[in-house]
Symmetry: C2
Subunit: 217 residues, 2 copies
DNA sequence: ACAATAATCTAACGATTGTTAGACAATGTA
DNA sequence: TACATTGTCTAACAATCGTTAGATTATTGT
């Protein structure tokens, strides 16, 4: 009888290991960054705005929950997501948070208000238009992330280079800019810049994690 | 520039509130119990094997993450899941845990080894057979949970009453027993009892949460 | 009005975290 | 060989969390 309690407790304890990995804001940010492609510890630390020591500690937690895997390459340790399922989980927990927490919706609204956004449901029609060349899908993430994985028919111009490489974009077509996902502000800034320069530009608030296009192994 | 960091931090912090709610084994167990239907605090405490004070404290956490809602009915406070999305999240985090954590798979294997189990993919065919009366789908949870929500064509005999009510089950047909889900042992025990009594019985290791049939509001 | 029940609130404790600093190990390079 | 780079490990601190006990608030029944 009490045997059953002990087994049950073990089961829920194991599931709670995943919850523990997901209960720190910085760990969630690291997961999102890793959804963009494999990265070294110091890249992750820089992108997340924390020290390498802290990043290393958080990554250790993610590794004991077996959500990420490592590989040593020369001086560097490369971290990557263990699975597509991890990216799906990140999207799922974020969606639940947006569904349940008004506070989160408020922050998102105030953040994304001015630049026009694409409704997230018309993925197929966006791909169709991109294939025909009716719109330009623009990936403004760092080029390594584009190389690791990107949306279909996307072209890469990292945000930092955008000002100098504006000539590469045809002026007649609508530019659909995207970045790491809804919590990343690079696409927003890119759209703002493009509009100031006379382009028609909208932001797609999704990235490779939301589209299920993630690099694994 | 640093403004963007602050906004990002706020976003991930909000998502982490969901992770925090899901980082305690007991809270996960409470969520699963609430997926079976609305319950009072002392029912939850008894089912989870903890004191009412502790249950109240954990439920408070779940409420600040807005995963559960309450309603006062006389002396009792009734808790229920806020949303179908919460049940879906519980299934999602459990599946990710089973995917990533070998330890969890080991516990499950040793737990579920002897009674034969139904492969979880043939939901439609199970419903079809139940509709035609070719199998008996048996819900062995407490009757209030059956009343709140149950699988299609299921009949309710709570585990405690099963020994006395065996006559209600036809001997020729296969009995498919289910309970609260894969981590609940009631269906396992029911199958063991039925087989000892000469019935053909299998366990369906899924429940209403896995089938997306949950009571809300 | 009084007792009983159901649940929460507060305070307290020990245990677990997040974060940083300092020492250390492994690799690549001059 | 010596040195810089990259990352982890250990120890330490404060902050947070899990758990329990004791007091408190509603509600119901007598």
């Amino acid at each position: 009888m009490n045997d059953q309690r002990r087994i049950k407790d073990m089961l829920y304890e194991q599931v709670a290991r995943i919850g523990k990995a997901a209960c720190s804001p910085k760990r969630l940010e690291l997961i999102e960054l890793l959804c963009q492609g494999e990265k070294t510890v110091d890249t992750l630390a820089r992108d997340a705005g924390i020290s390498m020591k802290l990043a290393s500690a958080h990554l250790r937690e993610l590794r004991t929950a077996r959500l990420v895997e490592t590989e040593k390459q020369g001086k560097h340790v490369i971290y990557r997501i263990a699975n597509r399922a991890v990216a799906d989980f990140w999207v799922a927990i974020r969606c639940l948070a947006e569904d349940r927490l008004v506070e989160l919706r408020l922050v998102i609204e105030q953040m994304a208000s001015h630049p026009k956004e694409l409704a997230p449901q018309d993925r197929e029609s966006l791909v169709k238009m991109a294939r025909k060349g009716e719109v330009v899908v623009l990936d403004v993430r760092p080029s390594e992330e584009f190389l690791a994985a990107h949306l279909p028919f996307a072209r890469s111009i990292p945000l930092e280079e955008l000002k100098l490489r504006l000539a590469e974009l045809p002026k007649g077509k609508t530019v659909v800019a995207y970045c790491r996902g809804p919590y990343c502000l690079m696409a927003r800034d890119a759209v703002a810049l493009l509009r100031k320069k006379g382009y028609e530009a909208v932001r797609l608030p999704e990235g490779v994690a939301e589209w299920g296009i993630v690099q694994v192994r």
